[in-house]
Symmetry: none
Subunit: 199 residues, 4 copies
């Protein structure tokens, strides 16, 4: 929000490159320029360094993805549907973005990614806040619907959710180790784990 047309073009160029499988650490300015259909110099009219351009692009993309995910989840009417929508979103994101996801979902990875991000915490806080909102939204619905019942601290609730989701992410990342398990089955296992944890 508040981004110029060129900035967005550059963001989109970076995202396109990352989704195409290029390691964010190895992206070249020339490649960004080509992917964004702008001159190499234009990037430096909007960002001070390559690092800043890539970092901001990733955050920009992350914000959009998370907002889209939230919208998807809000659309669903039952707790189970909402939770499955969350897993679906992660699954999709994983498919076309696994290298970024690897870097970002890794515990705390986001802060380590590009040193630049350590000094640009603003957007990160926004994202963390949004994630928290989604988690609370989900838990709230679960308890309201009566699907979840166990009275525990917020920490416990959050860790239960994270654990269920992380187990699923683990499956996504190591599909070859779980050859006979379908995505649907993995989702159902995750749901089962969540219910058990919070009942």
């Amino acid at each position: 929000m508040g981004y110029t047309e060129k900035e967005i073009a550059i963001f989109d160029g970076v995202i396109k490159l990352i989704k195409s499988g290029i390691d964010p650490y190895l992206i070249k300015v020339q490649e960004i320029a080509a992917a964004a259909n702008v001159g190499k110099g234009t990037i430096y009219d909007y960002f001070r360094t390559k690092e800043e351009a890539i970092s901001k692009a990733i955050l920009y993309n992350l914000q959009h993805e998370i907002e889209a995910a939230y919208a998807q989840i809000q659309d669903k009417t039952s707790f189970k549907a909402k939770f499955e929508a969350l897993l679906d979103t992660i699954s999709e994101f994983f498919d076309n973005n696994s290298s970024t996801l690897n870097l970002l979902l890794a515990a705390g990875g986001i802060q380590e990614f590009y040193s630049y991000l350590r000094h640009e915490q603003f957007n990160l806080r926004q994202i963390a806040a949004k994630v928290k909102t989604i988690v609370e939204h989900l838990l709230h619905y679960g308890y309201q619907e009566g699907v979840l019942n166990l009275q525990e601290s917020p920490y416990y609730q959050q860790m239960a959710l994270h654990g269920a989701v992380s187990g699923f992410v683990q499956y996504l990342g190591q599909k070859e180790l779980y050859a006979q398990l379908t995505v649907e089955e993995a989702k159902s296992v995750a749901y089962k784990l969540l219910l058990k944890a919070l009942n």
Copy 2:
């Protein structure tokens, strides 16, 4: 196993650098040589590229850490003590190694880390096998002790364990978000989640 003195010196140099907080992507050959107390050329007598040296050093370190962890876990006599030993190991590893952990524990991150690793799957399989052994060892003890009872597929059991551990890792990586939660409490939550999942 089968490594020369020089190779080990180089591995130790790389590990020292990573533990000191340097981003593995940004390590320079000159730095490795200095940290390992060898000449720059010597590195190329034992490895074909910088990438190979760093990748193998990380795998070497990982194998040792995992073996040490396994030994720790085997030493314990109760299931609960074994599980807590696992969490302790992860916690320690996290403290002095968070950037590597971020890259490695991220789902599938290991394959993406250095493109070199994609073509050098041998050691990775060894590590995955070792992890599987640890997981099985733990679950076996849990069922034998009668602490775990639920009869479910191996996939379910593994995901339950991964979920509990991942929730804990999540806590480690975001300690600042869980300000009032001590490490002991987080460990106890993880154990509780595991028991609930497998009972």
Copy 3:
């Protein structure tokens, strides 16, 4: 003469920058535009290249300074006062313009300065002619007043004057080496040298 308002604004911008101490070789078009309060493109409406703009600005300034110097000298009524007015002018010019002076007063420096100037000899000739007029004006008065008497070739007379002035410039440029010598004393030495040379 024959310069548009914009051209003069650009000249003034360049001169302001040089007087502020910026090395003429390192001036950027953007800086000229800012100093002149015009758009960057405007500079290219009036000059073909940056080089041309800077070179012409320096010549423009030089012409004005020399004309002003000539006027100052003409105002004085005695030979001694005229010579001192010349030294004063040089001294002032030196103070706020030493980097340009270095380039320009250096033997022939002007032709080497910007390659552009080698192909734009017109204005240089005008300046050289003006300098010659000043020199002749001075010498004419000296002989007319009877302060100078030695009959020698014009070359000798010119070199005598140049020598006296150059000695003074040398003093200005290396004031720190002549710590105990005041400007007034240096001027008086220059005058003494001139009289001795031409008597």
Copy 4:
């Protein structure tokens, strides 16, 4: 003194370029490397920046030229021969080095040349000291021989010498304005001016 073989090769490369007429401000690293027959990176093994390499090369060359000049002057047995040797040296230096000379002989030009030099005053002081030695050597002989007689302050003596030399440099730089004057005649004028100034 104390320079490695490579450093000297690089110095020689820079000097070769400058003598070939290239503006020192426009020399490219690649050109230095080619002229010195070393790789581009080698330059950065011995100097931190291009600026440092060029500046030190100029100082190195200057020191050698001045020492050679001093040797030439010491070889001569009469004051007149010594003074003419000085003018000859300058004349030669001028012929194959006019762009550097322009920058350096300009009053104080040396300090302004490359900003780097402002922070590296050591060698400059050595050079200034050597010049002072030459000047004193010359004046000493002139008085000892009885060719110079006027008792004046050291400042006066130095300015007299500088003036005579500067007049000659002026001639060298503007030969086209003094078409009918031969070098021999210009030298003789300079000598005459010096004698008059110091008698």
